[in-house]
Amino acid sequence: MTVESWTFPAALEAPGVARRLARSFAAKHGADGATLAAIALCVSEAVANVVVHAYRESKQPGDVEIEARRPDGYLCVYVRDRGQGMSPRIDSPGLGIGLTVIAQSATSLEVRRPPLGGTELAMRFDLTQAAATG
């Protein structure tokens, strides 16, 4: 199974960098146009969430880690941070609807709390369904 991962600072440009990396990986592994668009949107939302929430009590922004995998029939993208974990924020950019957008665009979404801290968003995209529905 092919696995690629990237780590970079959770800065304002991080969502754009992350979605280009994820889109490039997905295109290389046969995702169609609709799936590429869904992956770009989900990755952008997930990384924006890290930029806005994960390190807001830190003096320096931490890192965001992206991992992409291509098991049979699926494409999985994991977005991880080592910050304080997810919590509500009234002044959240994006209306706080990023997770809703991901949930409606990805085949499945899991929010995990890794033992070492931070948050992991695990997003899975069904490539066979995309091909079947065209």
Binding site: A40, L41, A48, G94, L95
Partner: protein, 116 residues
């Protein structure tokens, strides 16, 4: 990081009573501030403001939030605000979030008439 961002452009075309803000490229955390400034500077000086998304290639909920804030401002302050539909990939977020029926969408900037 070795990846050049998509070129982003935000241009304002002003008439006597109306203005059009054209954006091209990708609207996200890195670019939203520029559009925010452009729209808010017009909010209290024009009777009609149109945001043209036809050249936009990507938008996430950061951009959506800005559009909803300007729409709320327009309703409160009494100027017209409309959005020129973007490509399908851009329109998708409005459909997902149920905002297609909340905002005023038009096909071209001239479709938004100033209030009588």
């Amino acid at each position: 990081m070795g990846f050049r961002p998509e070129p982003f452009r935000c241009e304002v075309r002003q008439g006597r009573a109306s203005a059009v803000v054209e954006i091209a490229g990708e609207l996200d955390l890195a670019t939203v501030e520029e559009v925010d400034s452009a729209l808010r500077s017009l909010a209290n000086t024009k009777r009609a403001v149109t945001l043209d998304l036809r050249e936009l290639r990507f938008i996430d909920s950061t951009g959506l939030r800005l559009i909803l804030e300007i729409d709320a401002l327009a309703r409160q302050d009494g100027f017209n605000f409309a959005v020129v539909r973007g490509p399908e990939t851009v329109q998708r977020i409005f459909a997902i979030t149920g905002m297609e029926n909340h905002l005023v969408f038009v096909d071209a900037p001239e479709d938004l008439a100033p209030p009588a």
